[in-house]
Each structure stands twice: as C-alpha cells, then as structure tokens.
C-alpha cells in the first residue's frame, strides 16, 4: 500500500513527473508551507472574530491546554517514522498518574512523585517495546492490548474514586510560570525538549537510522542498523515522555481519575500525521509536527472563544486530518498538469 497513501509522495523524485518549476504550486506541495498557511488563516480568522484571541496572556495561558499532548507528540513522531504506532500513550499516562496518586497518598514528596511518574512511564514503554521486538508482533496489536491493560489497572484500583491530595510544590510543574513572567513552565519545557528531539532526529546518526528503519527495516538491518534495539529504545522513549506528560497533567489538574487523558492517543496521532509524518513511516520532520501542534492548539482556542463545543471541534479536526492528507497529492497532480500544458504550448 505504498503508492498513493504517502502524503508526501509528490515531494520525492516521482518517476513520470514533468521537469520544470512553478513557484507557487511548487511551494504548495511542501507540507510545512501548507500547514503554515492554514495556521495563519486560523490566527487571522480567530483574531477577527474575537478581540480576546490576540492577547499575550490568553495565548500564553492557552498553551497549558495542549502542552502535555505536545510533549507526547515528539516521541510519537519517532515511533511513526519507524513505521510503528503507539496507541497506549494515554493508558500509560493513566497508570503513571495512578501510581503518583498512590505514592502521594502514602506521603511521598514532589521529587519522589516526579521520579515515580517517569519510571512508570519508562517501564510501561519498555513492556510495549519488549513484546513488539522480542515476539515480532505488530505494534498496533500490542499497544491496543496494553492501552486497555494500563488504563484498566487504573480503573480496577480506583473504580469511581479519585486521588486528590498532592503536595503543594508539586503543583508548580503543571501550573507555574517562569519567574514573574507570563511564560508557563510547561511551554519552556516543551520548547527545550522539542529542540532536543529536533537535533536528535535531524542532526545525529540516530535520527538518520530512524528514517532508514522507516523506509526499509530489512535493508536497514542488513546495513548494520540495530533495528530491534532502536525500536525498543524508541518505545521506551515514548513511555518516558508519556510519564512526563502524566506528571505535568496530574500536577496541573491536581487529581487522578481513571479516565485521565482518555482518548488522547487519537488526538496525538492526528497531530503527528497532520504534521506531515507518513503513517507508513520514513517521511516527515519535527518542524511540521511542531507547527501542527500549535495549529490544532490555537484552532481549538479560537473555536472555544466563539463557544464551539469540544465534540464539534473534533469534527473540524477530523476533516482537517483527511483534507491535509489529500491536499499535497491533489496539488501535486495540479502542478504536473500545469507543467505538461506549458510544455505542450512551448512545443518542448
């Protein structure tokens, strides 16, 4: 199913594509350009509809609503680039939050809670990766099972109850600002980690190997890439970042219910795919995903300002996902048609 499914296929060296360039249409086949345009449209429309949109404090504060998802989108980018998928991330967040809640009830301090949250995430990610790599099971099958298992444990332990007692300093992580400024701590943490992931993926051999695995895992293995080890590592990373997201979310809302972050995996995958990462693996970059994170975040903020209910926002995002996948292909075809016509006219 390689051919038409690839959202970026028009960018590559497609076989029968007419040579030549057509400034605007060429740019429009570039994913990040399309996203950036949609992003600007969202901002322009929102700003003209609501006077509250372009307020610095509002904009800073709205990032609280999507920074945890953004943090998980970073490792999921690597997972999908490898041709895998991880739909257990929200389940991992629930499990992490559960253990933090239990530890907090037993009197653990903030640092201990953070450690427990991260360690739980890492362990859960390792379990996923181990099952996937050791038994060569497709990642979607394993993570469908583990998402039920992880969240199921939270439901089994908590039922309809909740942990609501967290130490006071713990709240800073998810609610605090940097010094006296209007910049949330979560936002800064995300920016730092986004840079780290960007460098890891685009400036190291590790990153190149990720693309190699995603394009052809067998060829990568024969070229000496430790495919199994790398996939295991990336699932651990996905678990660890889910643990971190869980620390921040638990700190922000100050309570743990078993349905915490329920359904987030879908929104996170949507974000990554909308960011131009091919679900078949091997193509895409961090920049697109970052634009996509803020695009969806601000789109929701804008719709929220004009009182659009959350479920209806999901219709918009669902259509956006589908349209965004169709768009580069259609623009690419349009571009080829223009070029052909020009060549015919010029008698080339």
């Amino acid at each position: 199913m390689a051919e038409p499914n690839n959202p970026l296929s028009t960018r590559g060296a497609a076989g029968g594509r007419p040579a030549g360039s057509l400034g605007v249409l060429d740019a429009l086949t570039k994913w990040e350009v399309i996203l950036l345009l949609i992003f600007l449209v969202v901002i322009a429309v929102s700003a003209s509809i609501s006077p509250y949109f372009l307020d610095l404090f509002n904009i800073m504060n709205t990032t609280f609503n999507f920074m945890e998802k953004a943090l998980v989108a970073l490792p999921i980018t690597l997972v999908i680039l490898c041709g895998d998928i991880d739909i257990s991330v929200a389940g991992i967040m629930a499990l992490s939050s559960l253990l933090m809640g239990a530890a907090s009830a037993a009197g653990a301090g903030s640092a201990m809670l953070v450690l427990i949250g991260l360690a739980t995430g890492l362990a859960a990610g390792f379990l996923n990766g181990f099952l996937i790599v050791r038994f060569s099971i497709p990642s979607i099958a394993v993570t469908i099972g583990s998402m039920s298992l992880f969240r199921g444990i939270a439901y089994a332990v908590l039922g309809d109850k909740a942990y609501t007692r967290y130490p006071r300093p713990f709240a800073y992580l998810g609610q605090g600002y940097i010094g006296d400024s209007a910049v949330p701590f979560e936002l800064v943490l995300f920016v730092v980690l986004a840079v780290v992931f960007g460098l890891l993926l685009h400036r190291t051999t590790f990153g190149r190997k990720v693309y190699a695995i995603g394009n052809n895992a067998t060829a990568a293995r024969f070229s000496g890439v430790p495919v199994h080890g790398m996939r295991l590592l990336i699932f651990c990373l996905s678990g660890l970042m889910s643990g971190l997201a869980s620390v921040l979310l638990t700190s922000r809302i100050g309570s743990t219910r078993p349905n915490i972050a329920e359904g987030w995996e879908l929104e996170i995958i949507t974000t990554v795919v909308l960011g131009g990462v091919a679900i078949s693996g091997g193509q895409g970059n961090i920049l697109g995903v970052i634009i996509s994170i803020f695009l969806i975040g601000f789109l929701k903020f804008g719709m929220g300002l004009i009182n659009v209910p959350g479920v209806v926002m999901n219709i918009v995002i669902g259509f956006l996902l589908i349209i965004a996948i169709l768009l580069p292909g259609s623009v690419g075809r349009l571009r080829n048609r223009f070029l052909l016509r020009r060549q015919l006219r010029d008698g080339v």
Binding site: M1, N5, L131, F135, S148, A156, D160, I315
Partner: protein
C-alpha cells in the same frame, strides 16, 4: 483429529470451556441455561460488529469508526422514532442499515479512492461521526419514554424462538461465513489481505474489495446502532464510546492476524464469546466491573503472544519437515 487439535479455534474453545467450568464449580448458577442465554444476548452486538471488523482487518485494514457509527445511526433512528413514532419498525430497520451503508461507504471512498491508510481515515471519521451525534442531538438524550413500544421491544421480541437481537447476530454470522468462504469476492478479501501485490497481479480489483469491506462493515454497524439504542432504551452522545476496542480485541483473541490475510468467522465468534463470558462472570465472582478493561487488555496481550509463538513453532516444524 490431530489437525483439529492444531486449529487455533480448538485451543480457544478449550480455554473457554475451562474458564466456564472453573467459574461454575464455585458458582453453579453461572452454568444455568438462562444465564448462558443472557451471555449470548449481551454479546450479540459484539458478535456482529466484531465480524464486520474482521472483514476489514482481513484485507489488512482496520475500522476505528464503528463505535461512532453505532452512536450516529443510533441517535438518528432514536430521534426519528421520537419525532415520528408512526414510522413502522421495519422501515426504521431499513433506514438504519442504509445510514450505516452511507457511513461505511464514506470510509470506503476515503480508503479506496483517496488512498488514505485505513487507520488514519477511520481515525478521522471516528471524530467526525461522534461530533455529528452531538450536532444532531444538541447534547440531549433520547430516553425510554420518548421511544415507541415497537421500537423499544424490537431487540427483545421472539418471533422465531430466540430474541431478535440474537437472531440478527446469528444471521450476520451465517451470512458472513457463507460470503467469506463460498463466494468469489469473499475469497478475494483474503487474497488482498494475504498479499496485495500478488492479488493485483491475479486480477483482483483492490479498490473494489477495499470499498466493499468498509461498506459491509457500515451496514452491520447501522443495524447494530438501532439494536443498541433500542436495547438500552436510550440514545446518548456517549453511546458505544470506545466500542471499537472490544471488536478489535475479539478479532485478535480469535486469531485474526492484524496484518491481514488470515482469520475465521468461528475464531472471531469464540473471541467475542470469551469477552462476553468474562464480562458476565465478573459480577458473579464478586469482582467490580471496573476490572473488565484490565482483564480485556491482559487477555489481548496473552492471546497475541501465544498466537505468535504457535505460529513461529509451526513455521519451524514446516521448515524441518521440508528439510527431511
């Protein structure tokens, strides 16, 4: 006999029998005919939708939108019944299936014509269909007293000796088994899932098969939507939320390969039955229903690991036999 023993369905059947025996040893009431009938009745919708899901998975796809499809069709026919109680129930059944067909065909077009990977296309429609439930209802519920008697009684009626709910499940199961095993296009579904490139070379129309499985899935989802809402006598915005997971779980437990190409109706039935028994047994053995999800997750993981190990061993055996 030895071939029978090797079949995955046989192992699963044994596991189910052991499970039932273990529970009924301590709680004899579990084995009563009425309880077993209840289990079948409670699992009927899962039977139907899991089989729909299986047809998609066998082609190498996946349909995440079934849960939202059930909710959207359910809410639509629920409101239709609320505002026009005069519409005969047979017509409502037809409407539910046509609505489901349209929703399924939309998925089918996205996958077969637009070339969007099934997991992404149905991830999109999962959100879209669920959103339209809210748009349609404005957040209101359709409750039992707003439904006509014929609507509410549809799943419980027993014109043919068993409840209509169970009858639908039996019909879907039998038709699916016949369709998949005895018709040309049914075999093509397996061919496409086994090897798409080879399937194209032998002249199978891939686009048609992709479109067809999603459309069939849609029709079954439509009927299930009506039965769901009528059975629980309420249509809500959260109806069937997350229900795509147990349908996939039933397939995985039943030995359907998530990569496509293999899977039987019998296996999926046993997989669904297993989940149905576990859900029914929890209150019997005094475990809170909150344990349901964790057990389901554990069973999925155990099933895929066991299935993989068995597959790998069989492949080794086959290889050794060929060497000798």
């Amino acid at each position: 006999m030895r071939r029978l023993l090797k079949r995955r369905e046989f192992t699963l059947l044994l596991v189910i029998l052991v499970l039932v025996a273990a529970i009924s040893l301590r709680y004899p009431a579990f084995l009563s005919a009425s309880n077993l009938y209840d289990i079948l009745n409670d699992t009927a919708i899962l039977f139907m939708v899991a089989i729909a899901q299986m047809m998609v998975i066998v082609t190498g796809g996946i349909d995440l939108s079934v849960s939202s499809g059930i909710a959207l069709v359910g809410m639509s026919v629920g409101m239709l019944n609320q505002y026009f109680p005069g519409i005969p129930i047979a017509l409502i059944m037809l409407i539910s299936m046509v609505m489901g067909l349209v929703l399924g065909a939309f998925n089918g077009v996205l996958v077969s014509q637009a070339g969007i990977p099934p997991i992404i296309a149905t991830l999109g429609t999962l959100s879209i269909y669920r959103g339209f439930v809210f748009v349609l209802s404005g957040g209101e519920w359709v409750s039992a007293h707003e439904m006509s008697d014929s609507f509410r009684n549809l799943p419980h009626g027993t014109p043919l000796g068993i409840t209509n709910l169970l009858l639908s499940a039996v019909l879907v199961t039998v038709l699916a088994a016949l369709f998949l095993n005895l018709t040309r296009i049914g075999r093509e579904i397996y061919g496409v899932g086994g090897n798409r490139v080879a399937a194209r070379y032998v002249g199978i129309n891939l686009k048609r098969v992709d479109f067809l499985v999603f459309t069939i899935s849609g029709v079954i989802v439509g009927l299930s939507g009506l039965l769901w809402v009528a059975r629980y006598a309420s249509a809500q915005n959260e109806t069937a939320a997350g229900f795509h997971l147990p349908t996939i779980a039933a397939c995985v437990i039943g030995g359907v390969s998530i990569l496509g190409g293999t899977g039987t109706v019998l296996g999926v039935m046993l997989g669904a039955l297993f989940l149905g028994i576990v859900n029914n047994a929890l209150p019997v053995i005094n475990l809170s229903p909150f344990y349901q999800m964790a057990i389901q997750g554990f069973v999925i993981l155990a099933a895929i690991v066991v299935n993989t190990l068995v597959d790998q061993r069989n492949q080794r055996l086959m290889l050794r036999k060929r060497l000798l």
